[in-house]
């Protein structure tokens, strides 16, 4: 299944870069049941890494309790306008996706 692009916004102010990301993912917990009572298998992002010009600035692990279409906001020191922010995730089905944005 193909995945949708995530939305990444990054801005730098006083030497601190704030990154906000909205990731398109079902984040199915594996606890819900469909109309026939069958359990919908878990499908969620397990790992997510954000890099600034190739250097990791946030390495996270998700469980099923992260909401559908996860939102993430964090800040790191450094960064300049035009620098590249890349976020990549991997889910429990082995799918992955990477998207990039430039710091505004």
């Amino acid at each position: 299944m193909s995945t949708k692009p995530m939305r990444i916004r990054a801005s730098v102010k006083d030497g601190v870069t704030e990154v906000k990301a909205l990731i398109a993912h079902e984040m199915e917990t594996g606890q819900r049941k469909d109309a026939n009572g069958a359990v919908i298998p878990a499908w969620f992002i397990t790992e997510l890494t954000a890099t600034h010009n190739g250097k990791p600035v946030l390495v996270s692990e998700f469980g099923t309790a992260v909401s559908k279409n996860p939102y993430l906001a964090f800040r790191f020191k450094g960064g300049a306008a035009g620098d590249k922010i890349a976020i990549s995730w991997k889910d429990n089905k082995g799918e992955s996706r990477t998207d990039e944005a430039a710091i505004a």
Binding site: L58, E61, F74
Partner: protein, 154 residues
């Protein structure tokens, strides 16, 4: 027998290379193995803390859980963690009453501020804990978030 591979795996640099590759998403299997399964599948707070290696975290007023007092929709609860403890390297969000307590954990490389916001699902009204690691020590803070509508099925 592929000896070279074994040698690479044996040496420390090999591990570093693997780590770099895993971070770049080149070796999905290795990376998946790195996911802390025990911690995420632990049911209770105590088991989760044990799986994370956090023994008796100290309550700290320098750590803060941000979030609403009442969440109308348990499927989308904005939760953030803010730590003022210098040298915070890890931040985790735990939800006491969820089927699996651990919601997410974040490793913070040097330079990244210990201030992370995300959105989580909550099955019911529960205490939300922020677990923070600085140096070798663990610190914790808590906040109760009331949920009017559960976010886990139904």
């Amino acid at each position: 027998m592929n000896n070279q591979r074994r040698n690479v795996l044996k040496t420390g640099t090999g591990a570093a290379v693997l780590g770099a590759l895993a971070a770049a998403g080149m070796i999905p299997n290795v990376a998946l193995a790195a996911w802390n399964k025990a911690a995420f599948e632990a049911k209770s707070m105590a088991d989760t803390l044990k799986a994370l290696g956090a023994v008796q975290p100290a309550d700290s007023s320098d750590v803060q859980v941000t979030g609403p007092d009442i969440a109308e929709n348990g499927a989308v609860v904005p939760v953030g963690v803010d730590s003022k403890i210098a040298g915070t390297t890890m931040v985790a969000i735990l939800i006491d009453k969820n089927p699996n307590a651990l919601a997410a954990s974040f490793m913070l490389p040097a330079g990244t501020e210990a201030n992370v916001q995300t959105r989580v699902k909550m099955g019911q009204t529960s205490n939300v804990y922020a677990l923070v690691k600085a140096g070798d020590k663990f610190y914790m803070a808590t906040k109760e978030i009331k949920v009017t509508l559960g976010g886990c099925g139904g």
